[in-house]
């Protein structure tokens, strides 16, 4: 869920930039380190970013509401590349979305980055890693991690709107419940659909090109053979 240009009033868009910039700097530092060690990742990261962009421009079918909504794609990227690199790719994707598709904006880039490129991916990554340590089924894990990332993004966006526009009675909390309640209509089905979509994509990727997942440290090769055996 993007916040559009000019929507956040003055102290808030600066504050969200101040929150996002250090994280992005850290992400760039991590990326620079990776690139200087393995130069072949530059094109791979670039196509991964382009993949996120194209995935997020596809319309998802929505069973509950008649409206269609766009997936964020960042949950999947976080599972594959980790949150630091996803944050940098996410910033570029958000910038392109605001320039090419008129989704989002430049002053709200900080707030959108915090919600969609930082907090969502971190939630997905932490969930995926801890659940796979605990031995959860791979598909269920991917589904939950992506869906949770979407939900986190939506909650953070609602918080951002509520902080900027606190309600007269009840303050920030009251207006948070209002924003969250109304956007839940589109955002909760979206999270479920995107989670299922990502889990199924992963199923095909394991079948066809499982070595990618081993390369990226998403799955160990032992886990891949186990999943493949279970399929047969």
């Amino acid at each position: 869920m993007h916040i559009f240009e000019g929507f956040l009033p003055t102290p808030w868009w600066q504050i969200w930039f101040a929150v996002s910039i250090p994280v992005i700097m850290y992400g760039m530092y991590q990326m620079n380190k990776l690139v200087s060690q393995r130069r072949e990742v530059v094109p791979l990261l670039a196509v991964a970013g382009a993949f996120i962009f194209v995935l997020s421009s596809l319309k998802l079918p929505s069973a509950v509401t008649m409206s269609s909504s766009h997936p964020t794609g960042t949950g999947m990227a976080a599972i594959l590349f980790g949150p630091a690199i996803t944050s940098v790719l996410g910033v570029i994707v958000l910038l392109y979305q605001s320039l090419f598709l008129a989704h989002g904006g430049l002053t709200t880039l900080g707030a959108n980055t915090a919600a969609m490129a930082i907090i969502g991916p971190v939630v997905a990554y932490v969930f995926y890693r801890s659940a796979s340590k605990a031995g959860m089924n791979f598909y269920l894990n991917v589904f939950l991690a992506t869906a949770l990332a979407d939900l986190a993004t939506y909650v953070v966006t609602s918080v951002q709107l509520a902080l900027a526009f606190p309600s007269e009675v009840g303050g920030v909390y009251a207006s948070f419940t209002k924003f969250a309640l109304i956007f839940a209509v589109t955002q909760i089905p979206l999270a479920v659909v995107e989670g299922a979509l990502t889990a199924l994509i992963m199923k095909y990727v394991v079948q066809i090109k499982s070595e990618v997942l081993v390369d990226l440290n998403v799955l160990s090769s032992a886990a891949v053979t186990k999943i493949k055996e279970a399929m047969e």
């Binding site: 240009e5 130069r39 994707v93 430049l106 659909v193």
Partner: protein, 260 residues
């Protein structure tokens, strides 16, 4: 499927104007719009930027109006929420919904109108940038600022591959549609999974090929861009300055004025 604004920017006559001038106009508009305290300044900015985009940039007027309607869903919903739950002052109108009284107060309505006009102003500035300045020109600007090289490189390659994958995605989607792949929820979900998987695997293989091909052409982590020199002309400076002066004076004169 998607309207990429960059396509219009490549054809716009304003493409051949100085990038920094355009960027400063846009930055000025966005910052003044977002910090204005009355709805008049952002609306004036929207009017000027819209005129510049349509008249100087030769963007079809109908297309421009359609673009402005794009953020409407999000913005109108949020504006309605703000109008109902924000602010003090006289109650303009109210109605009962199952025991709750919903009331629009003048403070809330003013706030909603202000936010609405700010968004329109900001979006029109953004449209001016994206409809007149193709990304290829902005890369030169990105290179001149002190972003890390790897960041700019990835941004540039990503830009290229967005178009490649969009074409692939559109082709697949078209093929699926004519085979009734988007008939109902179940089939469209299944088609979308196929599309996503195919795109992922194809982009991965493309990335590996890209590395090989660039490496064999002596890629050392830096693509060199030739930036064209485009001097700022006198009429442009005069027009920009008078626009700035007009907006700033309206900003000063209407500060704190509300519609209601």
């Amino acid at each position: 499927m998607v309207n990429i604004l960059d396509d219009y920017a490549l054809m716009s006559p304003l493409r051949y104007r100085n990038n920094w001038l355009k960027l400063s106009i846009v930055t000025f508009g966005i910052l003044t719009g977002v910090s204005s305290t009355s709805p008049f300044t952002p609306l004036l900015i929207a009017l000027c930027m819209g005129f510049a985009t349509v008249y100087f940039g030769r963007i079809p007027f109908k297309f421009y109006l359609k673009l402005l309607a794009l953020p409407a869903g999000f913005v109108l919903t949020s504006a309605v929420i703000i109008a109902f739950f924000f602010g003090t002052g006289d109650i303009l109108f109210s109605f009962d919904v199952s025991g709750y009284t919903l009331a629009v107060k003048s403070g809330g309505l003013n706030m909603a109108l202000l936010v609405l006009s700010r968004t329109i102003g900001g979006m029109s500035c953004l449209f001016f940038l994206s409809l007149t300045t193709p990304m290829v020109e902005l890369f030169a600007v990105l290179k001149a600022t002190h972003f890390p090289d790897s960041f700019v490189e990835i941004a540039m390659m990503m830009y290229r591959y967005i178009f490649v994958f969009l074409e692939v995605a559109m082709g697949i989607r078209y093929a699926q549609t004519v085979r009734l792949g988007y008939r109902d929820f179940r089939t469209s979900f299944r088609s979308l999974v196929m599309l996503g998987t195919n795109l992922f695997i194809r982009s991965w293989e493309q990335g590996e090929k890209l590395y090989l091909s660039m490496n064999s052409r002596c890629y050392d982590g830096k693509m060199i861009l030739l930036e064209e020199k485009r001097p700022v002309r006198m009429p442009e400076v005069l027009l920009t300055c008078s626009y700035f002066a007009l907006v700033l004076s309206v900003f000063y004169l209407t500060r704190g004025i509300t519609l209601i």
